[in-house]
């Protein structure tokens, strides 16, 4: 009942965000990122958004050239996490007003900040878009 990691990768496999909620060795992280990319990149859009990864499951969704992937337990509620990804994208879209990959590249540090307001310790922290956007506004002022 916990997200193990979240990855944001483009079609070429470049990592745009990687957040691990369980301890991984460095070399292992690289391998995970490589394997998850290979797993999702060639899947037909008509396929399910779920794919078994080692002993867990990756829930992924593609937006333009970006893949958002979450690794969860096999018993977890797949659709809930699938919509969790979408809510995160909506928040990014709102924050960057019409988000594109370059926003995420140049503002990767902000993406981490946004993610921390949304998901914490591998659990959903806040599901109100309004609450998160207001909070991000508060933090912007402090910079």
């Amino acid at each position: 009942m916990q997200i193990r990691f979240i990855l944001l990768q483009n079609r070429q496999g470049k990592t745009r965000l990687a957040k691990y909620y369980v301890p991984f060795e460095e070399s292992e992280k690289h391998r995970v990122e490589y394997e998850v990319h290979r797993l999702v990149v060639n899947r037909d859009p008509k396929f399910t958004n779920f794919v078994e990864f080692r002993t867990h499951k990756v829930i992924y969704r593609r937006y333009a050239g970006l893949f958002f992937s979450m690794c969860v337990d096999i018993t977890d509620n797949e659709l809930a996490y699938l919509e969790c990804i979408h809510l995160f994208v909506e928040i990014l879209d709102h924050f960057f007003s019409n988000v594109c990959e370059l926003d995420l590249v140049f503002n990767f540090h902000k993406v981490y900040l946004i993610l921390d307001e949304f998901i914490l310790a591998g659990e959903l922290q806040e599901t109100s878009k309004k609450a998160i956007i207001e909070r991000l506004g508060e933090l912007e002022k402090l910079e």
């Binding site: 301890p23 690289h30 008509k46 919509e83 140049f106 503002n107 990767f108």
Partner: protein
């Protein structure tokens, strides 16, 4: 597009993006790293802004996949910066770069703590966020109290409290002691009254973790969860911002229903009714809509509701509603919904009474087996496997076989194994079974282990009717081009034994059979050559009248192989040559193999003779049982000491081997590594050649005999840790010592459903169980603690006769630091206290093997019920006579006060009813026991204590089944006498041999292995 707001950072990112190739990118990155390193070396003159910028650059480089092996100190030190912009960078980057095992974190514990207890809310949030994302024991020990305070503080904003909740959850996962169970359940109940849905979402995550670990402490939260779910499902008083595409927080709904699934049952009729109303509303009110997000969100809720309904064992009507829904889902085109339909239908199989309805969907499920998406195919395969029984095995297995040729590599192994298991389990007739296995070998020979073809040979040898058929089939297959080597083995064996039965048919003359087989000889490995030589010898002897041409040909081959490089082959060739020269005089030697005996008692006797550790003992006894069982599905059993397994392998090899170990020839030939066979026919027993010959077809590890098995037993007894269910391997003392006391771990798991079963320096085996009536499901978590893989991993379940257990595939290798989960399904057939054993081994330098008792104990199939005096006494009176009621005075009881005793009984799922017995020294408890034979059966228990002597009591047990009454009575006694939660002797890990406290047993020695065995037989 917004730039980063830090010019240097933006420029660097642009530079990297503009690199034309990977090489250039590396150069640019190296240059930057060099620059940052130099700037960090001399911190003077480094402004906070610059430091912050460099740390961000480091994170960016790290994200690109480059090693960043310096600068951690700088990142961490920013945490102590006085201003928000730097502090924020410090916290975020530290959480990304470091994990809980980094020593750097200790340096900042104080700074982090100061931020958490300080007045600055923003700093509090930063600190909580980092601790929540990293976790770890150090933080857990030093910060959990402060985090707890923030969570329950009334002066903190929801913003801080929701972070505190998840932070505490993370610390709890590392160390469950961070919440003091007694006071904490009331706190949790209060927290569930929270109005802010953000805080409530976080609190609910926490509750899920708490109840999954210890549901008993949180019963008070159950009605609150139902209330929350009602409020959400009715969209009552939910702020607009918490609805997602019109659905009140689907995530909170899902989480709440997940928490509810950890409560074994819902007693209160009102709560139960409200919950079912809500669930009914969700089941009926979820429509398919156009908007994909809305659709997903509503179905996320729907699928969780389905899981909860299954868990609650709802009335049949609601169940069939669920199956109908799932039937609809598995037929839709939308892949996600179809996937989930299949997945949940597989879970539904656990529910009794719906299997027949599920079977109606078989054709639809088979369509999904051929879906282009592997995710869907896997789910379909699992479901077909789960729903297979005697009625549909033929269809399902044939579908699997058909699909095998088309299946991609990733699925073949699983398909082959599942088909083999199903064929063996449910074969309607033996010729079909032979067909299936031969097809399997033909299509996926690489995935068919030796045991499976040994098994075919065994069946064929024991069934005369089958022999001509098998020979015919074998000839068909071997005649094909490019035959798998396993096919050569099995065909050669069968044709050698039985082709003469068909000798008059065209194509079956000895000459033809020989030439078909001989074509394969140049391409096969040594062990197959050995089988072929035996077959040739048999063919030759069966050719009557002799065919001089064939004889010369075969003798030439024997001659040639007398100088073959392998000594085994040499010896066979030489002996067969000599024997066949003797002509008809040695005919008997080459007779058909006798039937395989159905049972081998030697092992069992040994188990009775010696007092061996419980698990080892059960292991031996169960293996012996398994030999005769028709539903044996074992891939390469391996006993503790590396001797040849007493599985079917030994049966195949030599029925009389262990009868006369004094036979000199046998010893010498074994020293040569050659299998021997004592022909059971008395006429041959004096014939030296007879000892050496016979059927050498089926190979096992050389030099094996029954003897080492006994040694293993002795060593296990002598070993100080014998009682800890650990048996040495290879006759060597096991150099891998378990961490913690295995027996204590087992005892603890008898009372709870998740925890660690076994741990040593290399592996940790955790276990998590769910019980639903007489069904159960374990998940074994096999965690590799090393940075290199564990190989040759094998897990074998040895179930006692009253449990049907099925372990899903266990991978042979566990990658470094990885954890694999292996579900294990359990069905309780009848009441019994016998234990299941996990025979587990792996290789890490040396082979390590342990036998662990599995906590599938009797009380897992008990569900406490509360009764009033009016309900209790009529039942009590009807069950008044033995054997339905048994009474015993138990002495040597661990002295317990009445509340402690009540706690103990409740702990083993016997629901104590405090108001029934007027005498305050007595306790009355009631529970429902579930098994396939008894169905749900009421059990009533009365304990009468003696206030003047707490070490004795009178125990009365009643139920509608004599066996259940007896087993339950003995089971309760075991718990009264050795109270497992009592902290016992100091750690055994390095202590000199400690004499394990012998459980003082009252009544017929229930720990006497002989008695245990007798009970089992």
């Amino acid at each position: 597009m917004a730039l980063s707001g830090m010019r240097g950072l933006s420029v660097f990112i642009s530079d990297v993006r503009n690199c034309p190739n990977k090489e250039q990118e590396r150069l640019r990155v190296d240059k930057e790293l060099g620059h940052i390193r130099t700037r960090f070396m001399n911190e003077r003159g480094l402004t906070p802004y610059e430091k912050k910028k460099y740390v961000w650059k480091m994170l960016y480089i790290y994200m690109l996949g480059y090693d960043v092996d310096f600068g951690h100190n700088e990142a961490v030190s920013l945490i102590s910066a006085p201003k928000y912009p730097e502090k924020q960078v410090g916290y975020i980057v530290t959480a990304c770069l470091l994990n809980e095992n980094h020593d750097f974190l200790r340096m900042v514990i104080n700074a982090v703590r100061n931020d958490i207890i300080g007045r600055n809310e923003t700093f509090q949030c930063l600190a909580l966020t980092m601790v929540a994302n990293i976790g770890g024991r150090d933080f857990s020990e030093s910060l959990s109290m402060d985090v707890q305070k923030l969570l329950i503080s009334s002066s903190c904003r929801p913003l801080v409290r929701k972070k505190a909740a998840l932070c505490l959850l993370r610390l709890y996962r590392k160390n469950p002691d961070v919440v003091n169970i007694d006071g904490w359940s009331d706190r949790m109940a209060q927290l569930l009254d929270e109005r802010d849905l953000g805080v409530l979402t976080s609190v609910m995550s926490m509750l899920v973790a708490l109840v999954s670990n210890n549901v008993d402490a949180y019963w008070n939260c159950l009605p609150k969860c139902v209330k929350i779910l009602e409020r959400l499902a009715r969209n009552h008083d939910i702020p607009q911002e918490y609805t997602y595409y019109g659905i009140p927080s689907p995530w909170l709904q899902v989480k709440t229903m997940r928490a509810l699934q950890y409560f074994p049952t819902i007693e209160d009729p009102n709560t139960r009714r409200s919950l079912f109303e809500v669930l009914q509303r969700i089941l009926m009110g979820t429509d398919v809509v156009k908007n994909v997000n809305k659709n997903n969100a509503s179905h996320a809720v729907l699928f969780e509701a389905l899981a909860l309904v299954m868990h609650l064992d709802a009335e049949k009507e609601m169940m069939s509603q669920c199956v109908a829904l799932l039937g609809k889902f598995i037929a839709v085109r939308e892949p996600n919904i179809r996937y989930l339909g299949l997945e949940n239908m597989t879970r539904m199989l656990l529910v009794t009474d719906v299997q027949d309805i599920i079977k109606r969907h078989q054709a639809q499920i088979i369509i999904s087996l051929k879906d282009p998406d592997i995710s869907i195919r896997r789910r379909a395969l699992d479901l077909l496997y789960g729903m297979c029984d005697v009625t549909n095995a033929k269809d399902i297995v044939e579908e699997l076989l058909q699909y095998l040729s088309a299946a991609d590599f990733a699925m073949r192994e699983e398909l082959a194994l599942k088909a083999a298991i199903l064929a063996e389990k449910f074969a309607p007739d033996l010729s079909w079974y032979v067909d299936v296995i031969l097809q399997l070998i033909d299509k996926a020979g690489d995935f068919v282990s030796d045991d499976i073809w040994y098994r075919v040979v065994q069946f064929v040898s024991n069934n005369e009717d089958l022999q001509p058929y098998a020979a015919e089939k074998a000839r068909d297959y071997i005649d094909k081009p490019a035959v798998h080597e396993t096919m050569v083995k099995v065909s050669a064996y069968i044709l050698g034994e039985y082709s003469h039965l068909l000798a008059r048919r065209p194509g079956f003359s000895p000459k033809e059979i020989f030439s078909i087989l001989h074509e394969k000889l140049p391409t096969v490995k040594t062990d197959t050559i050995a089988i072929l030589l035996t077959t040739y010898a048999k063919i030759l002897m069966h050719t009557q009248p002799p065919d001089p041409e064939l004889q010369d040909h075969i003798w030439a081959i024997f001659n040639k192989y007398e100088s073959f490089i392998d000594v085994e082959i040499q010896q066979r060739a030489a002996e067969y040559f000599a024997l066949s020269k003797r002509g008809a005089r040695s005919m008997d030697v080459f007779d058909e193999m006798p039937k395989f005996p159905e049972r081998q008692f030697a092992l069992l006797n040994k188990a009775e003779d010696k007092e061996i550790d419980t698990a080892e003992q059960s292991a031996i006894k169960l293996r012996t049982q398994q030999q005769t069982s028709n539903s044996l599905v074992v891939t390469d059993q391996r006993p503790a000491n590396g001797s040849h397994p007493p599985s079917q392998l030994s049966l195949v090899r030599m029925p009389s081997q262990n009868m006369d170990p004094s036979l000199g020839d046998q010893e010498t030939t074994q020293a040569n590594g050659i299998l021997t066979k004592v022909d059971p026919q008395p006429a041959q027993s004096g014939d030296v050649l007879g000892d050496l010959l016979g059927t050498l077809a089926i190979e096992g590890p050389p030099g094996a005999s029954m003897q080492p098995e006994q040694n293993s037993g002795l060593e296990a007894t002598a070993s100080p840790i014998g009682d800890l269910a650990l048996a040495p391997l290879d006759g060597q003392p096991n150099s891998v010592q378990p961490i913690g006391n295995i027996a204590e771990r087992f005892n603890a798991l008898c009372l709870k459903d998740s925890g660690v079963l076994y741990e040593d320096p290399h592996i940790q085996i955790g276990i998590k169980a769910e019980w639903r009536a007489h069904h159960g499901r374990f998940v074994l978590f096999l965690g590799n603690k090393n940075t290199s893989p564990l190989v040759s991993v094998r897990a074998l379940i040895l179930p006692p006769s009253h449990l049907r257990m099925e372990l899903s595939l266990v991978p042979e290798t566990i990658p470094p630091r990885a954890q694999v989960q292996c579900p294990l399904e359990v069905v309780n057939l009848r009441p019994s206290r016998d234990l299941a054993v996990l025979d587990f081994s792996y290789k890490f330098g040396i082979m390590v093997n342990v036998k662990l008792r599995l906590p599938a104990v009797l009380n897992k199939f008990l569900r406490p019920i509360s009764m009033t005096a009016e309900e209790f006494f009529p039942q009590w009176r009807t069950l008044a006579e033995p054997p339905l009621r048994l009474q015993e005075v138990v002495r040597g009881v661990k002295p317990l006060s009445i509340p402690e005793m009540a706690h103990l009984l409740n702990g083993i799922h016997l629901g104590v009813n405090l108001d029934i017995d007027q005498n305050k020294n007595n306790l009355v408890a009631s529970s429902t026991f579930f098994s396939e034979s008894t169905r749900a059966m009421l059990c009533l228990i009365r304990v009468e204590t003696d206030p003047s002597d707490r070490t004795q009591l009178r125990l009365t047990v009643s139920s509608g089944d004599p066996t259940l009454t007896f087993e339950l009575k003995e089971f309760i006694k075991e718990h009264l006498i050795i109270f497992p939660t009592a902290p016992s002797a100091p750690s055994h890990a390095h202590a000199p041999p400690v004499v394990q406290p012998q459980p003082p047993v009252v009544g017929a020695g229930s720990t006497d292995p002989g008695a245990l065995l007798a009970g089992l037989l």
